[in-house]
């Protein structure tokens, strides 16, 4: 295999691919990226056995072929080469890959290509297309709520499934860590009528998110019960799905909450941020006291003292006092792009629903904190 590639093209593709590769591996080949040179293009492939990414880049291929080299080392080298450099990659097949650019020359150890694991394709019967904006919305507005507690593995991802609301078929993404929940929906795309409910793991979500911004407008999604694939213009990301049952989240979204507060989102977020400066660093508790048209935010800690701030809200209901983890509140307000946010509450012990007033496609449920 012998090829010449421009630094910028290689760096961009390699940047996506190498982040899938774990820093430490017990299987040596998993540290490597597979370089596959065809006619006029090169395909880079990396995997951690659960997540597989293939990205294509244009290159001047003189001898087609393939090889594998350490992903992180290669990335490190390419990153440090000067802008605009032309990189020659030459794998003579003696277990070594020679990389040269300008007056630099690197000889890298290589492992045989046939050891490189292939994430077996299998059938992916359900195929549909999402716009990049829709996919971005589904991910961005839910991923903050993904659980990090490994014992509840079935919460360690985004639950993507088909749903229905007022007769409209929807594709919905839900994530929860047991304390809060985020649910975002888009109209069900054609081809997704029969999709099973699947849980996309956290790492796949993170890699996917990086790819969206640098790709075209459309993403082709295909999935089966155990795998999901996202195809962009140049890149294809395939991930195994979490083999577990996502809890029946519908039951915890309260329907009967009758105390509705509307607040200007930005000023609310800023107030929460300010007041929480005083609350203790681990529990981050903040209290919301509602009475008439005024919301009083307060926090106190034995070490730092106390803080209160008042903001104007639209609220009609009995007085209410409710505590929250301020970090959770800020996580939600960060997702709200519109001006106004609506809080639907019942009491200090029951879940509160938060939504953007003008955009009901996203819904957040927050469990209060008892202080």
């Amino acid at each position: 295999m012998k090829l010449t590639i421009e630094r910028a093209a290689l760096l961009k593709s390699l940047g996506h691919v190498q982040s899938v590769v774990e820093r430490r591996n017990t299987i040596p080949i998993l540290s490597n990226v597979k370089i596959d040179a065809g006619d006029a293009s090169v395909r880079l492939n990396a995997t951690d056995m659960d997540l597989d990414i293939v990205e294509a880049a244009t290159a001047d291929v003189s001898t087609p072929g393939s090889t594998t080299v350490s992903a992180h080392t290669l990335y490190d080298i390419v990153r440090k080469l000067p802008d605009g450099a032309q990189i020659d990659i030459d794998a003579a097949g003696d277990g070594q890959v020679v990389l040269s650019a300008g007056r630099s020359r690197f000889t890298l150890a290589s492992l045989p290509t046939d050891e490189f694991p292939v994430l077996s394709g299998g059938e992916l019967p359900h195929q549909f297309t999402l716009s990049a904006a829709e996919l971005r919305g589904l991910i961005d507005r839910t991923r903050f709520a993904i659980s990090t507690e490994e014992t509840r593995y079935y919460l360690n991802g985004i639950y993507l499934h088909k749903a229905e609301s007022d007769g409209t078929a929807l594709l919905r993404a839900v994530a929860t860590d047991g304390h809060r929940l985020a649910s975002v929906e888009v109209p069900l795309p054609a081809g997704a009528e029969e999709v099973p409910g699947v849980i996309v793991p956290r790492k796949a979500v993170a890699e996917l998110r990086k790819l969206i911004d640098e790709s075209g407008d459309e993403v082709a999604v295909s999935m089966s019960e155990s795998k999901i694939r996202f195809a962009f213009d140049d890149a294809v990301l395939t991930s195994k799905l979490i083999d577990g049952t996502f809890p029946d989240y519908q039951r915890v979204i309260p329907a009967g909450n009758d105390k509705v507060m509307e607040v200007e989102c930005k000023s609310f977020a800023d107030a929460v941020d300010r007041v929480s400066a005083i609350s203790s660093e681990k529990s981050r508790a903040i209290k919301l006291a509602l009475s008439g048209g005024t919301l009083v935010l307060s926090a106190s800690s034995p070490e730092h003292g106390s803080a209160t701030e008042e903001i104007e809200v639209a609220f009609d209901g009995d007085e209410l006092e409710i505590g929250f983890n301020s970090a959770y509140l800020l996580d939600v307000t960060r997702q709200i792009e519109g001006e106004m946010a609506r809080f639907t509450m019942a009491d200090a012990a029951s879940p509160t629903v938060m939504q953007e007033t003008d955009d009901t496609s996203a819904l957040y449920v927050l469990m209060p904190m008892r202080v």
């Binding site: 507690e149 490994e150 681990k282 981050r284």
Partner: protein, 611 residues
């Protein structure tokens, strides 16, 4: 196959299996009899670890000849005068020991009552009883067991080496002796005395401390806190060791209920709870505690060897132990064990070969003359003391020393260390250790450990004052346990809620967790609840939850405290010392390691051979 009644001898042999497990249990039964007989002196001789012979003689009230023949009958006892199993005032009460021992050995009992003309002797051999014979013996009783277990060869085979059995006997004797300081005890193995404990004089506490010191070592007496508390007619007395005076196992934890040594899990759990904030989980405090409860509140009749007891109100006893011991430790404040200083002295290298005396000698005069307490032998510090002192000396600066020794400016330091237990800061070594001068010695403080402890105490006070904030669970977590575990957990639900964990029943053997302590963040609830159920079963305390909250506090404290390597000025150092004096438990970090070492002047003088 036909049913039949077992012969009396066999019945006694079976009973003996329960009561007399090894020579030490026979010794225990006999010594308890002697104690019940109001003896003031009890002599025990055990030969070949008890296999050849065990002799116990006392100067108690003795037995008349007719009692002698009765005492080896099963269930014959003088200790339940009202046939009331509730009101038990003696160590023994079942009337099982002597017949059991008699059934498996060659037993001879010689006894004479006060004022009787002669003593009487009775022999039993494998359950066969002879008639009492007149014999010669002073007032009291002498019981001799020969060939223990000769009638039960199986049991004989399971005996360990004489040495091991002797150690068990010694342990048993020690425990009994601790509970009865007014009685003199001796234990001999036929050639030499293993124990020789004279009766202790004086009032109970003094006598007891004397006896405990003899048995557990002088260090214990110096490092123990007096415990004396009473709650609802249950009294707790004894001594609890300082946390820094700890051990790697529980061998030096002695618990007594109504004068009876017990091995009770609930009581050990209470102890662990009391010391939890001050010791790492693999270190054990040294304690001797005596619970005195009216006999109707405690049932001792639950274990063949009576090493377990049951309290009518276990939570009360538990609360009493945890509360009292914690209170005593809090009052001890910043005290660290004297053994810490001993250890430090042990580590000091004497001899001048490593000390740059030629350079240092000229500088010595620059120390305040009232400051002979700073020892040049403290290994790490030594070289630095010999070096020039930039803050005090106008002498040419020696570059090597400036980084490591930061003396307190004389003008700003308080000159009278007498009024402060931890003294007045004189300087900082290696930007890590504060050296302070006290009225009669020096104190070396590990600044990070000390400050970390202060911050942790502050965080805990905050938690205690405000309560633990609880984060509600959007999706309550159901945890499957076995029935008993779930019940135990639910019985403690109000207490757990105070610590931030709200659990409710969820059908048979399952609990549902509704709220968790907010400061733990997202946690492995299944694991936590399982651990707590195990803790409750084993130690009767939800240690797992406390530990995790404690860990978070400790981590916050670690991040929020002054690190080693941070230069402190004199005022900062003095402020730290004053705060340590004012804060309870500041003498040790949460793992039981000391935060400071105190060396007395006379210790230092010893190092230099001045004494």
């Amino acid at each position: 196959m036909q049913l039949r009644r077992l012969p009396e001898t066999l019945v006694n042999q079976i009973a003996a299996g329960e009561v007399v497990e090894r020579p030490a249990s026979a010794v225990k039964e006999l010594v308890e009899n002697a104690i019940d007989a109001d003896a003031t002196r009890i002599d025990v001789t055990v030969i070949d670890g008890g296999q050849t012979s065990i002799t116990v003689s006392d100067d108690g009230i003795g037995m008349a000849p007719e009692d002698l023949s009765l005492c080896i009958e099963r269930h014959a006892t003088s200790k339940l005068p009202d046939d009331d199993l509730i009101d038990i005032r003696h160590l023994g009460f079942r009337g099982e020991a002597l017949p059991s021992i008699g059934a498996v050995s060659r037993l001879s009992i010689t006894s004479r009552t006060e004022g009787a003309n002669e003593a009487w002797c009775l022999n039993v051999e494998g359950g066969r009883v002879s008639d009492p014979q007149p014999a010669a013996h002073p007032k009291g009783t002498r019981v001799e067991i020969r060939d223990l277990f000769f009638a039960t060869p199986a049991r004989l085979k399971f005996l360990k080496t004489p040495r091991t059995e002797m150690n068990h006997v010694t342990e048993t004797m020690k425990r009994l002796a601790m509970a009865h300081p007014a009685i003199g005890f001796t234990l001999s193995d036929g050639t030499r005395r293993r124990l020789d404990l004279a009766p202790e004089q004086g009032e109970l506490f003094e006598a007891r401390l004397g006896r405990l010191g003899t048995i557990m070592g002088r260090d214990f007496a110096d490092n123990a806190l007096l415990i004396d508390a009473e709650r609802e007619s249950i009294r707790l007395t004894g001594y609890a060791g300082l946390p820094t005076f700890n051990r790697g196992n529980a061998a030096l934890q002695f618990l007594f209920v109504n004068g009876r040594p017990v091995n009770d899990r609930m009581l050990y759990g209470a102890l662990r709870g009391a010391y939890r904030d001050f010791l790492a989980s693999d270190r054990y405090p040294v304690v001797a505690l005596f619970v005195t409860a009216p006999s109707e509140l405690v049932d001792v009749n639950v274990h063949p060897a009576k090493t377990e007891v049951r309290f009518r109100d276990a939570a009360l006893v538990r609360g009493l132990i945890v509360g009292t011991v914690k209170h005593a430790l809090a009052e001890a404040g910043h005290r660290a064990a004297t053994t810490v200083a001993d250890a430090a002295l042990g580590a000091v290298r004497t001899g001048g070969q490593a000390l740059p005396m030629s350079r240092g000698a000229g500088r010595y005069g620059r120390f305040p003359s009232s400051n002979p307490s700073i020892s040049p032998g403290l290994s790490d510090a030594a070289a630095q003391f010999g070096a020039p002192l930039p803050g005090l000396a106008a002498a040419p600066a020696a570059p090597m020393a400036t980084n490591d020794w930061a003396p307190v400016d004389e003008a700003e330091s308080i000159d009278d260390p007498g009024e402060y237990p931890l003294g007045v800061a004189r300087g900082q070594l290696h930007a890590t250790y504060i050296v302070a001068q006290t009225a009669d010695g020096i104190v070396i403080v590990d600044q990070h450990a000390a400050h970390e402890r202060l911050v942790e105490e502050r965080i805990k006070r905050g938690l205690a004052a405000d309560g633990v904030a609880r984060q509600g669970m959007l999706i309550p977590e159901v945890v499957e346990l076995e029935d008993a575990g779930a019940e135990r957990l639910l019985a403690r639900a109000p207490e757990l809620a105070e610590m931030g964990l709200v659990v409710e029943a969820f059908g048979n053997g399952a609990v549902v967790v509704r709220e968790t302590p907010a400061l733990l963040g997202e946690i492995d609830i299944q694991g936590l609840v399982q651990d707590m159920a195990d803790d409750l079963a084993e130690l009767d305390d939800a240690i797992a939850l406390r530990d995790r909250i404690g860990d978070v506090c400790a981590t916050m404290a670690c991040h929020g405290s002054v690190r080693a390597g941070r230069r402190l000025n004199g005022e900062e150092m003095n402020a730290l010392l004053r705060e340590m004096e004012a804060t309870p438990h500041s003498g040790q970090c949460s793992h039981g390691r000391p935060t400071y070492v105190e060396l007395k002047l006379h210790d230092i003088e010893k190092l230099f051979g001045r004494r």
